[in-house]
């Protein structure tokens, strides 16, 4: 075991992690621990853009953006946070431009903007051009630009260090942050990082779905580490399904494709979104479009011999426009489907995309241990966190915004906290939990294969906890997951070595996924209403009387060591917008 001491430790080197690192490095001695190399993060897969009311091409203001965010989130958004998001969006985009991000430009040389789902002028009148973009590689450009600036600032990275545990120590009856424990992939060594402040920016957990746009590495490691240490998870039942994933593969095709004029069609060639969202049509919010697509498929208007997909039609757009604005996604269609988007429509289906829920934080990024109390020194930002600016459904382009606004905020807050506080003494044997976990996994010889359990988990999640949910399917999911957790206890890991033991890590990751899937299913079962990304066929309407509140899930360990999930609720912060019916 090696012990390192840093003022600020950041877990994860995606958009939020690196944005925080740029701020924290200027103010404190900072280390970034990442299980991948920095530019491998899934921020790079984001395509369409980053919303900010710059008003570069048409009239716009941040107040409209706030409203759209709140309405998009089906009023489960904390409105103070949404206001900060929309207000600081403008500086966030300008900061990135000053860091060197190559945005597309207007003829006047300003940052160009385009339409995106759910972003409207004057509270829903019509679509507005608010998404700042760099072709369909905005996420890639953000990730590269942030990494470039990390190089510039001399940020210290620990690459391929896998954080497996969060260290909290009780001081005067208050849980405080002491550090994290990481597993070095290259050597199998365990490192303890003692830190005054820790920022989790470890990304999402979408890999428990089968058809997903998420990377193989998005396994909710941060959420799971916090969960195991008794911290709550907020709004986990809200998971976004992106309408346009490549059929069967789930690879993302940006909403920008529809922003540029792409149209969704069913097997009769009908532009079916006109029926579901007369004003915004194909640019309604993602949950609405995803449900519409599945409704078409269920009612027998899906395309293909099995009728299990619909088409994204780009054929009416000039090839030059596709080349200039959507080069990557047209290439995906050619590479993976062998389809030429100039002339043929692209088969798509909704794909699991983004976790609205996560570790609860306040607007400074401070992690909450219950509805109001913060854990001193612990921060979270990005998809791992739930501020909550996304509520029940995130608007497209708001996640790239989220990582920049709240990444920056938590980076500053953590470094300032570190400057004014001392190290908390490490608990005795700080690495014990991780050593035990790694040893147990390495010696695991139970006979169950990780891949079988993971596949079964993904299948039950796709079948029972996806776009449409009912009491019955969710109960099925809960019992399936419980059974899989029992099987998980007797898995075997083939690789017994220390160096680059990815076999062992996949087993650990599966454990994280099982924990988080269970929280999702249990939270979803208890939410007997339909709101945003969470749609219950048995309760098809929104119920503001009983459920205008955030779910807070806690891990409880009984006397006998039996684990269970306790659900509690947290009020939604409402400032100026009263809940209305959501129509697009």
């Amino acid at each position: 075991m090696q012990i390192h001491k840093y003022d600020t430790v950041i877990v994860g080197a995606g958009g939020a992690g690196m944005r925080a690192a740029i701020e924290a490095t200027k103010r404190s001695r900072t280390a970034v621990l990442t299980k991948l190399y920095p530019t491998r993060s899934h921020t790079g897969a984001a395509q369409g853009g980053m919303a900010a009311a710059l008003a570069n091409v048409e009239e716009d203001n941040w107040e409209w953006h706030t409203f759209d965010t709140i309405k998009g989130g089906d009023y489960l958004v904390d409105q103070d946070a949404a206001e900060i998001l929309a207000k600081e969006a403008i500086d966030a985009v300008l900061d990135l431009e000053k860091m060197g991000l190559p945005f597309n430009r207007t003829p006047e040389g300003r940052i160009d903007q385009r339409r995106f789902g759910g972003h409207t002028r004057n509270h829903g009148e019509a679509a507005v051009r608010r998404s700042c973009y760099a072709a369909d590689r905005t996420g890639h450009m953000i990730l590269q630009t942030l990494y470039q600036n990390c190089v510039k600032e001399g940020v210290e990275f620990f690459n391929e260090f896998y954080v497996l545990d969060l260290l909290l120590a009780e001081v005067d009856g208050v849980k405080r942050t002491a550090g994290v424990v990481a597993y070095e992939l290259a050597t199998g060594e365990i490192h303890v990082f003692q830190a005054k402040a820790v920022i989790f920016a470890s990304g999402g957990n979408g890999k428990f779905y089968k058809v997903t746009s998420n990377a193989h590495t998005l396994t909710g490691d941060g959420q799971a580490a916090a969960w195991r240490r008794g911290l709550p998870l907020e709004d986990m039942e809200f998971f976004q399904f992106h309408p346009t994933g490549i059929w069967r593969m789930g690879i993302l095709l940006t909403e920008g494709a529809r922003g540029e004029g792409g149209i969704l069609r069913n097997k009769d060639g009908e532009r079916f979104m006109e029926r579901y969202a007369p004003v915004m049509k194909d640019l309604a919010s993602r949950d609405v479009v995803s449900r519409a697509i599945y409704t078409e498929i269920r009612e027998g208007r899906g395309c293909g011999p099995e009728g299990d997909h619909v088409y994204l039609d780009l054929t009416h757009l000039p090839p030059e426009q596709l080349d200039a604005k959507l080069p990557d996604i047209t290439e995906f269609a050619r590479t993976y489907l062998g389809i030429e988007p100039y002339t043929d429509p692209v088969p798509i289906q909704p794909t699991a995309h983004y976790a609205m829920g996560g570790i609860p934080t306040n607007v400074q990024g401070e992690v909450l241990t219950d509805n109001t109390t913060v854990v001193p020194g612990l921060y979270a930002a990005g998809e791992v966190a739930c501020v909550s600016v996304h509520g029940a459904n995130r608007l497209g382009t708001n996640s790239l915004l989220d990582i920049n606004v709240f990444g920056r905020r938590s980076g500053i807050a953590a470094a300032e906290y570190a400057a004014t506080h001392d190290f908390v003494e490490l608990p005795e044997n700080p690495d014990s939990l991780v050593v035990e976990l790694v040893e147990r996994m390495r010696d695991a010889n139970g006979g169950e294969r990780v891949t079988d359990i993971r596949k079964a988990l993904q299948e039950t999640m796709d079948a029972n906890a996806m776009v449409f949910r009912t009491e019955q399917t969710l109960k099925q999911a809960v019992s399936d997951i419980a059974a899989l957790k029992v099987r998980y206890k007797s898995i075997s890991v083939q690789d017994k070595g220390k160096r680059y033991n990815t076999d062992l890590l996949e087993a650990v990751e599966l454990g994280n996924l099982l924990d988080l899937a269970e929280v999702l299913a249990v939270s979803a079962l208890a939410r007997k209403e339909s709101r945003g990304g969470h749609y219950r066929e048995d309760y098809p309407t929104r119920d503001d009387v009983n459920f205008m509140r955030h779910t807070m899930a806690y891990r409880e360990v009984g006397e006998d060591g039996e684990e269970s999930i306790r659900l509690d609720y947290k009020p939604v912060v409402q400032t100026r917008y009263q809940p209305m019916e959501r129509k697009y």
Binding site: L36, G100, P102, F103, A134, M141, Q144, T335, R449, K498
Partner: protein, 258 residues
Amino acid sequence: MSTTTVESKHSAALDAAETGDAHLITVTLRVRRFNPEVSDQVVWVDYEMQMDPKERVLDALHKIKWELDGTLTFRRSCAHGICGSDAMRINGRNRLACKTLLKDINPEKPITVEPIKGLTVLKDLVVDMEPFFQAFRDVMPFLVTKGNEPTRERLQSAEDRARFDDTTKCILCAACTSSCPVFWNDGQYFGPAAIVNAHRFIFDSRDEAGEQRLEILNDRDGVWRCRTTFNCTDACPRGIEVTKAIQEVKRALLTRRF
């Protein structure tokens, strides 16, 4: 060098036969394996499996790892050519495993998979990327500007933006650098990827440190070591015209002097 043929009971062939997947074909992956915890020798191992020809090489590697041999080690993340984790040498050419479909590389013959060349192999297909990123860091890959920052964005015309568009696509996968014969023999050469990233800033109208970057690349291990073999352009999974970018840097150096 020895070749192990995996017994059929470990192969996925049987599972496929049971479900009656007629469109599946038999594919053999011949993987160059090295595990310092087992042996100091490199071993080529054959894995035979039933695959859909439309699947990717990465799917085949996953099938091996998940169903046949959990010790096979490789890096991967996004699985659609964006993150740059899984550059490897497939049938003697550098490619991303997640962007290479089996049907496109003649699956009738065994498909060879090796780690990219010129970097230390740590285990199986995993190489030490540190020297590669060192070269990247050495070319000042970030925007440098002088004077006061404007309150709004810096203006840039669409033409100026298009000037360096090609080289902004780089995902740092190292496919180009590790396909370069000069780099194979001398890893101190900056390599195509570092030059591409320098190009991205040298030709950015907003940047004011082009001169320093040119100075760095003017040195012994800089652009003048490029022999224009075009291996890098062929290897780039993002379709960047890498050799052209290197030549443009050379031209900038020459026109700066004369």
